[in-house]
Symmetry: C2
């Protein structure tokens, strides 16, 4: 994919950085175990004290590494951790983002070992938070620790900003970034909170789709009706929603919003070729992961294109009528559907909302009224492959993994990445060391120790390459 | 509608029966108040003792009227009350069915007076159960009481069978009827548990639709997916259900099951003319009741035809994904829909289930699997207008109301009516004295006192006409 096979720039400190990581491996793993043992589940109030303990642990570790400035920032929810290690005025500044909170652990009985007792087996560290995101935050800290040991300080100015509400949808960090954008000034941002395609094929995420999350409310009769007395003449908003939703998107997966289709830029020819050739056999891999025999959607587009840049429209839930056990013959007066759209970077979710709203009115069958509500939205992100931070990350991955990374578009949305892009006007490097089978948000979450170690070395190299520009 | 303007057969006892009801009106109303005050909510275990008290009250009233045989029959749930008053071997036998249990009362704060403190205002008795069904059972008992006073006994053999689980979907009565069909032998059945069109237009129900209640389960991927990571290639059973359900029934309201459409008999020409002419302005009345400006469904058929004999397919609920507050971007692995069909009398719900099952497989979009479950079903009922019991009821209504009754098809299903029809092989007279604004199953349930009084007189006359054949 990356056709620029430029000569590998030598990094004089690399051997020492690598040696530090290898020689201190057991200590590093023990430190990570310690952090992982703290059940910092941000969405469960009974774990409030644990979240605080995990924040304190991170602050202590920053101090231990040698951060001259480092503080806990109180918020309305869980605290932020801020650190700054200033090299000199002329050096570039990198902002490192991550989160120290974790997902809940249900269903508990599906864990092979207790979720907060880190257990190493088959070369993997099993623990809630191992991959998402404590393990990946820790590998960045270990890379900084290596630089501190090898030459007393990182090779560039480093800001760290960690949050404790990522898994709970908390607003503290976005409020903070909006209010303190000036203090956070950085030339680039590093987020290690994603996964690679495979342990032998490093990848960098150069695009994230935006998101628009809406709720569609449909009304029929004034009050609920009995299907015996009114079935055959009454509007049934559950049926009305089905009609409307299939008009917005049919079996072919195409979204029937003309303004949206017209606004989609044709993809870069090289990227399009890569998607169409599917050299990584993503289509088969996706089918395997989902346990299906065929993919559903816009089959005239390659799966990678559909996941990375095509807009999507998904129904997440339909509420109305009766869904308990047994039978109830109600025709509900109203019903609502939760709908989200993933949007190619560059499209404003607000604009798309107005297009969707028009399409909803057009598609509404006779006898019903509808109203569309905008619940939340987030911009997409697109980073040029030519950007120097992406180039530094690419070089670091090639150095450690021995192969060029693939540039991927990620289908998901990371609102904080979009916020850093827009508020700080800094490119975001999304370099994750997770793997597809890490079981994040699921029982038996794990992180490959090989990935942990390579991640530390890659990030250490990244700092060096980035510092040199 | 009833073109047989035969000369009114005189009923010698009618003046005395009517006089008894008028002269004892206050006592009769007081007795009904007493019964209504007992909160016999069958679906709420905390009211178990009240249900029993209401059963005891009914048994005592049967004794007071003069029933020579009368007993409480224990069941797995709430008791049945059985009474038999034998006139002589050669007289016809009428089985009277009703229920003494009532619906719950929520939302309680919408009641103008407490639900179990019978309150008379504006000529109506307000109380839970006033119309459904204690008030209507009571008017039948009062008619029997009148006959007992006037000539010592009813003019024909009377069986009474009351249940206490109608509002809780209990099975006790159907088990009993199936096991004791022989002992219940009757020439016809009277059920007063429905409503008339208006206080000036009596009506008799000559048809009930059957019901088939199913649950449709659709599967996509092996487990729930995140719309960011899989949106665009993943099956979404919520969307799959929408596609399937709109293929089963489009905006035109027509059910796409060819076997079903082929099995529908063309309606009787006279009935069809009545539906099409809509002399009662039912279309406008239905729109008013529902608070809508247009009816939804098969607009090429008249509303009365759509409600009474056309098959319907309604979605009662769709379960799957996320329907709580806020946003969650899940693509569920599976989703289910509750679907019911109302069926013209004469069609076997089992046969229709097999047709629906085939239609569901045909309509299932690519990438999904479906399974249809039969939750329950009930046969429809059709009684000929020429039947002597219907003729006797018609005559009684004309005598008391001064106008011919209209013969109506009712859209709802009354499974016990179908069971009486099939088990006892006896025609069912569905002669209700409720009105459309009785608020049954809702706050401020009421029964018009005028309807209560006319109902007593009509049922008394009905006994007389039926006895004479």
């Amino acid at each position: 994919m990356n056709s620029q096979h430029e000569k590998q720039t030598d990094l004089p400190q690399l051997a020492q950085l690598t040696a530090f990581i290898d020689q201190n491996w057991d200590n590093l793993v023990d430190s990570l175990r310690e952090w992982l043992s703290i059940p910092s589940i941000s969405s469960q109030p009974e774990h409030g004290a644990d979240v605080r303990t995990a924040a304190d642990w991170a602050q202590e570790y920053l101090k231990k590494i040698g951060f001259p400035q480092c503080s806990i920032i109180e918020t309305a929810g869980h605290p932020l951790i801020s650190g700054f290690w200033k090299m000199n005025e002329s050096a570039p500044t990198l902002l490192i983002y991550g989160h120290y909170d974790v997902q809940p652990t249900d269903p508990l009985d599906e864990w092979q070992t207790p979720p907060f007792s880190p257990d190493i087996r088959d070369g993997k560290m099993y623990c809630r938070g191992a991959s998402d995101d404590k393990g990946q935050v820790f590998l960045v800290l270990a890379a900084l620790q290596a630089w501190a040991k090898v030459q007393g300080a990182p090779p560039l100015n480093i800001r760290v900003l960690l949050e404790g509400e990522e898994e709970a949808g908390g607003e503290a960090i976005s409020l903070y970034v909006r209010e303190h954008g000036d203090e956070l000034a950085a030339d680039s941002v590093l987020i290690c909170d994603t996964a690679m395609i495979s342990p032998t094929q490093p990848s960098l995420i150069t695009g994230l789709r935006g998101i628009l999350y809406t709720e569609l409310a449909m009304n029929g009769a004034r009050h609920d009706l009995h299907s015996g007395s009114y079935g055959g003449v009454a509007p049934n908003p559950l049926h009305g929603l089905c009609l409307l939703l299939t008009r917005l998107k049919g079996e072919d997966g195409r979204i029937n919003i003309p303004e949206l289709q017209a606004a989609i830029h044709p993809p870069d020819a090289e990227e399009k070729r890569f998607w169409d050739e599917d050299p990584l056999k993503i289509a088969a891999e996706l089918a395997r992961e989902m346990g299906v025999t065929e993919l559903v959607g816009e089959n005239e587009f390659a799966p990678l294109e559909r996941l990375g840049v095509r807009p999507t429209l998904e129904i997440h839930g339909i509420l109305g009528g009766y869904t308990g056990a047994g039978a109830k013959t109600v025709i509900p007066a109203s019903a609502t559907a939760k709908l989200s759209m993933r949007l190619p970077a560059g499209l404003s979710p607000q604009t798309v909302f107005s297009w969707l709203e028009k399409a909803v009115y057009r598609a509404c069958p006779a006898g019903y009224t509808v109203k569309l509500h905008n619940l939340h939205s987030g911009d997409g992100v697109a980073v040029s492959k030519e950007n120097s931070a992406i180039q530094a990350a690419s070089r670091a991955l090639r150095t450690v993994y021995g192969v060029d990374p693939i540039f991927m578009r990620e289908g998901g949305s990371i609102p904080i990445a979009a916020l850093f892009t827009s508020t700080l006007n800094a490119p975001v490097v999304l370099m994750g060391f997770g793997l597809p089978d890490d079981n994040i948000h699921a029982p038996n979450e794990n992180l490959s120790l090989e990935q942990l170690r390579k991640g530390m070395k890659t990030v250490a190299a990244f700092f060096g390459y980035l510092a040199r520009g």
